[in-house]
Assembly symmetry: C2
Homo-oligomer: 240 residues x 2
DNA sequence: TTGTCAATAATGTATAGACATAATTGACCG
DNA sequence: CGGTCAATTATGTCTATACATTATTGACAA
């Protein structure tokens, strides 16, 4: 047994929770008690509890103690692939074809657009992600020009604007919505499928603090793409 | 400024990384340096770095220092909703209708099934999740009876087996795959849609250690369901 | 030049204690 | 009976220190 003590404590409690031995809402031993149980310092216990709290397995309340959280939702870690890299790893050639580029003011009827740009201008970029000449996804992206003025001067013909943004623009928060939709006629044309074909729809907004940066909607060809989410010890070790 | 110091350090570095100020692969200041910068103890710096390492934003190597991780993929936290609760929160009535129940040995041609149960028996449960009489998803679940023998004796007619498993069976790891597919005829019949309609396909496997527990495949009616993933300060505060 | 081995520099884990903060409890007083 | 305030108890943060672990560096010898 070589694993650190705080990790052992963490696991013991995690196991007890996941196994139902500790019911949601149950109070778990106070730090001093665990301290005696494991014959260690309070910091060590605290480290274990902090880790559990940070993944939402327990709630800690001053004066009251720590409690098993009501597992309203389970959270897992979702890996969002970098398309270009992912495709190249499969040994295919990645490409991006720009279909449309437009600068305009946000549509006042579209809450999305005003929320993103306020009264500033928007850059609309529409394009197709391609793997070995086969279209994989269509992407419609809005970029707030007040947040990213530099982008207006660029000619983003063959490179994905997402990749450029990722490298050049600071962001602190992001939200992704995932759904399944039927391809509309336009999308279907770009993806070379029939209208109505199932697409994985991914919509992502990113912010820097309160300021909106970009809003992107991607339609992945149904058969071409999966997303993976994990919980547990499976580590992010794809090195070499 | 009321936020803890270790949190401030964490954010400063996180921001520097996300903004590209610290490029992937870049070495960041060693702990003693940060210690001086922030005029604090090493433990405080270490706590900040540990947090960053645990979400995969940096790699820490002894003797060498800490480095910004190559962001092969971005990871976000995906909330996996508890269907029953989610539906009830919308003010709808939740129901589960069992369609089929069968105990059998794993199919040797299906790698999934043997991986799950080895040579033990499997319980197959097929059913429909219903919100206010409207079918929302069909679910086909395999449960390893060697891992969960108790379940064979239960009559799971009106309750979701997922909910029961969640409450009674310990698990430590899970993996979820998300895709968009067209409904096959059988699925379409259950969901009261036409064959070929887009469905959000969710496949989840759970384990306790190395032992497989259950494998579930859910087809959500396309218009009815979204998944949400977040990165950043948006906290899990759905209390009350 | 090459191999070995010890010094070294960095993180990893842990201790013991201090003070801060927050919420509950209970005593006291109107 | 009800309200206020202080004591208590638990977590939250932080310091300062110690020793463990591990990979690199560099010196020295073959």
């Amino acid at each position: 047994m070589s694993l650190p003590l705080h990790e052992r404590i963490r696991r013991d409690i995690e196991t007890a929770i996941l196994s139902g031995e500790l019911q949601p809402g149950a109070r778990l031993p106070v730090e001093h008690e665990l301290m005696h149980q494991y014959a260690c310092a309070r910091m060590t216990v605290s480290k274990a509890l902090s880790a559990l709290a940070s993944v939402g397995l327990i709630d800690r309340r001053k004066r009251a103690g720590s409690f098993v959280a009501r597992p309203k939702v389970h959270s897992m870690v979702l890996d969002i692939p970098d398309l270009e890299q992912e495709i190249q790893q499969r040994g295919q050639m990645y490409g991006y074809r720009l279909v449309r580029r437009q600068v305009r003011l946000p549509d006042h009827n579209a809450a999305d657009e005003t929320a993103l740009a306020g009264k500033g201008k928007l850059l609309l970029l529409k394009g197709v992600h391609i793997a070995d000449d086969v279209p994989l996804a269509v992407e419609a992206r809005l970029v707030s020009l007040s947040a990213v003025p530099e982008i207006e001067a660029l000619t983003l013909e063959g490179t994905s604007p997402g990749a450029w943004l990722l490298k050049h623009v600071p962001w602190t928060e992001a939200e992704t919505r995932i759904a399944a939709v039927a391809a509309d006629q336009d999308t279907a044309n770009h993806l070379l499928v029939e209208a109505g074909a199932p697409c994985l729809f991914v919509e992502r907004r990113t912010w820097r603090g309160d300021e909106g940066i970009t809003l992107v909607r991607q339609h992945f060809i149904g058969s071409g793409y999966d997303l993976i989410a994990r919980f547990g010890s499976s580590r992010r070790d794809t090195d070499s």
